[in-house]
Subunit: 346 residues, 4 copies
Amino acid sequence: MYSFKNDYSEGAHPRILEALINANLTQNDGYGLDGHSENARELIRKAVGQADADVHFISGGTQTNLLAIASALRPYQAAVCAHTGHINVHETGAIEGTGHKVLAIRSADGKLTPAMVDGCVREHTDEHMVQPKLVYISDSTEVGTVYTKEELAALYHYCRQHDLFLFLDGARLGAALTAKGNDLTLPDIAALTDMFYIGGTKNGALFGEALVILNPELKKDFRYMTKNRGAMLAKGFVAGIQFEELFSDDLYFELATHANEMAGILKEGIRALGYPFHSDSPTNQQFVILPDDLVAKLEEQYRFETSGKPDGSHTVIRLVTSWATPEKAVREFLDTLKKLTDPARM
Amino acid sequence: MYSFKNDYSEGAHPRILEALINANLTQNDGYGLDGHSENARELIRKAVGQADADVHFISGGTQTNLLAIASALRPYQAAVCAHTGHINVHETGAIEGTGHKVLAIRSADGKLTPAMVDGCVREHTDEHMVQPKLVYISDSTEVGTVYTKEELAALYHYCRQHDLFLFLDGARLGAALTAKGNDLTLPDIAALTDMFYIGGTKNGALFGEALVILNPELKKDFRYMTKNRGAMLAKGFVAGIQFEELFSDDLYFELATHANEMAGILKEGIRALGYPFHSDSPTNQQFVILPDDLVAKLEEQYRFETSGKPDGSHTVIRLVTSWATPEKAVREFLDTLKKLTDPARM
Amino acid sequence: MYSFKNDYSEGAHPRILEALINANLTQNDGYGLDGHSENARELIRKAVGQADADVHFISGGTQTNLLAIASALRPYQAAVCAHTGHINVHETGAIEGTGHKVLAIRSADGKLTPAMVDGCVREHTDEHMVQPKLVYISDSTEVGTVYTKEELAALYHYCRQHDLFLFLDGARLGAALTAKGNDLTLPDIAALTDMFYIGGTKNGALFGEALVILNPELKKDFRYMTKNRGAMLAKGFVAGIQFEELFSDDLYFELATHANEMAGILKEGIRALGYPFHSDSPTNQQFVILPDDLVAKLEEQYRFETSGKPDGSHTVIRLVTSWATPEKAVREFLDTLKKLTDPARM
Amino acid sequence: MYSFKNDYSEGAHPRILEALINANLTQNDGYGLDGHSENARELIRKAVGQADADVHFISGGTQTNLLAIASALRPYQAAVCAHTGHINVHETGAIEGTGHKVLAIRSADGKLTPAMVDGCVREHTDEHMVQPKLVYISDSTEVGTVYTKEELAALYHYCRQHDLFLFLDGARLGAALTAKGNDLTLPDIAALTDMFYIGGTKNGALFGEALVILNPELKKDFRYMTKNRGAMLAKGFVAGIQFEELFSDDLYFELATHANEMAGILKEGIRALGYPFHSDSPTNQQFVILPDDLVAKLEEQYRFETSGKPDGSHTVIRLVTSWATPEKAVREFLDTLKKLTDPARM
């Protein structure tokens, strides 16, 4: 049964596996101090256009978020995010586990604006309340939307003015940067955040995220922090080799482009059948509102997550494509959906 | 320059890579809920002889230690270990980072005895002091030694009597169980601890440790704990596939046996040259005491760690072999050492 | 300038000071193991009607909350509360500082119902989300309202059914239990919660809260926990003596009754002048909605907190009375307000 | 039965109680923002000779230690102390509870030297180990000894050179500064540490310690930190009034002088009877080595703590005097000891 549950159902892109095989028996130093990791860091520094950026490879997204945020904040400081933010909902209290409150702001499209952050900042006036100090955003967001350059610049400007750090969770950054309508580049993101990460797990790697630290204040002793939280991999080179391959040429963007294209076919086909979407996503996650009975029938043939019920008779389903999704699977899904759709509807 | 720095300098055993390649494009559920992981868990349950054991795959040793210990203890409870214990010295305060004191007991051979633990327990008499609640041991230890069945049974018996958990760090468990003189088996260890882990990173995997929880008290909600600390891998199947391969037949033990054999050749050869050892290790770590000038010359041709100075003119060097160490490298090292050794010495 | 800012502006009720003076030079054991503390614990056990209750004296409310909650929860578990809950807003992330997420539910009157908690519980379905485990309520609430016996019983029943702990913050419990319309007693509260505290700081003590633990699961090693968080007072008897006095006869309730009566006079007088209230409080906190210019004039003669703006031209002011508030001060405030009020209004 | 168990067996010095009574019904702002607290801070700034010092009143010693240390350190940093240090032994893992390792160095007299700290610093070479960042000392120490000006200056100089903070636990600072042989003053201590605290609980207050922060790096947002750990007292003025009284004239030093004098009489008398001391203490704690049978007889008439057994037939007893110890009690103790002593011994 084909799965649209997520973008981490398959292993790694074949080129990455090949790179791992080629390097397999050559000895490397441990803990990310090897040549592959250094080369991968250098490739990323070039790709983001910041020769001084610090780059750290971490095994997964939640770990990257908790390390980055715990390293940036003092004990009484808080992270601000959209209520849909991954750190708020889907990390089992990992940020609170490091001692920090997450201040969630209701957001219709999964994004934050300066005005929304400002409301939160103004509410926190003295030492009886936490001190908002870091703004967490995701691009693409948890509902598939993306930031424009103007939006990100406005947010970063606000953060600079109010002495806040801006941290961008890029678990699906590839999908964001290759989305229709996106006008941001990696160098833009590096110029408009204090730190961000480039997700590998959801874009063709076996595992691994590349945290990029731009703000010098946040760079100090990050390797100590990493080890302290159990996040330093002994065979760090295994992550390094993967990012070396992803950034040796445009592989990272090619993989994301494919995922978005497959999602685009889904979106167009579903829209043609007349079904509404929960969010207007140009990326590899599509949130479709379907009648409950149709969802039940689809579940007999496909695997996917559901994501809430807008009313008593409808369900939002989430369809996720990846670098590995074959066009055939997407077309077959649309055929199935068409067959299950009442002809009167169209 | 050949490296004896550690047992995680190379990638994975070729059979593991092959298994990853074969499974690469088949879709799997995320977060370790896939068939490979379940199969690997089942294989490990059989290997340890406990059908009810819980098995969790974690990316590295420090993370496994901190998860296991933080999950077992209440805030005011402490872990007891040898002063050489990895959690005491080489984890950048990861255990304290979860809020727990590490009570270190001086140990000449890296091992703990009931008497040593008892001294610590007796010193902690009331609520003004931490409450010792978990005993942490390593097998093989950080200085290469191993526990006998009698020693482990005595420690476990003591822990049972005093309501303490016994946790065994098996980062190098393969090396311990295949060491000359070892009389412990995996089922013994499962019967004589509350939880332990089977190290993959240092025995042929790209990464990964298999935490085995025996005591029912410690099983509850461990997946919540794992996610809370950022340790749940999205592509959990990548760890599952590796342990599936390591435990499909005796691969796990074959790899460790090889590492020990290579270390045995080193040990014999070095002893024949008349150099003393810092500890009597039957496993893949050898700690040799050499004159400082000799160490300097060796460093021109080999890479290895040093581990303290017993006096003003000598240094302890650590030589580590692995599943990937070629016998040729070992023989050449001995030849080099012989050439550098004053003939008068022998 | 008279202050209605809070109920902790003055020292202690004279009888408490006298008790401290009388006991001053008699030697006591430290850390709450003295006769006064034991006697106070016994008096409280009798007052709550539970001979097995554990009672601990803690110096303040935030500390009591964090100790109680951190002691009850495992690392991935969360506390559920109203969005107005003290732990959510006014404790500078103290609960998160112990590693636990606070799940805030929007509440119009500062209270929680089983349906509200159930919505939160149902949303948290698996190990990718925190596990709601403790329900935190306040009585009286942060907006001055009180629970009825039926409401508390329903909530406790829900918690029992869903394996949740119910913890009641009684910083202003005296005010709640002596409020007009209240039908709860101390024994009721002890029968319908897993733990709660009896606030002393805001009801006539120099400092001190009495945490009462009913559920045996929550009793174990609480003194270890207390010391671990720096909350164990060397001169614990200073707290014991105060609670001995408060519970020797009905002093605790007399003091709260006075505070409520003073607030009742304010409420009646303000209502007579035609001003609306932000919440319908029968206790010693009154939240009044006044025109901004009137607030500005009042601030020239009185001290009080403001608590948000319902619209562009009005402000909510909070008036708090205490055991020490003279009726004269209350009458004068009403006179002032009357003079400042446009006669046309009434 | 008279108790020499500790210096916190009695309430407060009568002048302090009187000050509390006098101020009792005057309204004050909460949370230490009142006039008494401000006046007390100003008196302490004058007494320590640093107009810019930040002063915070905290309810107890463990809480002060954990606040100060947690505020100063980043997550992977550690505190260095003597193995006898209060934070290492008698705070139930409070420092580890904030996430930080305590690195304990064996010390014969409870004090640290630059050489001792340097050994610890040199051992911690990279990110696999914690980073020593704060040196914790006590004056007087846990075994009653005191630092000389030369010793403290050397330690501070070492800390400055190695970018370490020096924090002095002054739970018994009064006893240290009034001890025979002491050459340190409050201004010296303020000039030779980054922060320290002046203990009130053990020197005549009902409770309270005054944390003095000298290093500007450590001052930022300390009130947030205080509230975050539940350490901010609503009636902060109760602490302020007490320190106002202690530092209005030389009361603080007079009380400590008395305690030391009483201990001096004990010391002289015991020495005359021929009993040896476990440490050479010029302060209000005396550690005496007595035969076990004598200890048993003394326990029938006096209360005191024991502190280990130097051999199979002797016990160390700790005798503590305080501001409230009557000379009569001390003389009677000596008489009793004399009577219990075998005449042949003297």
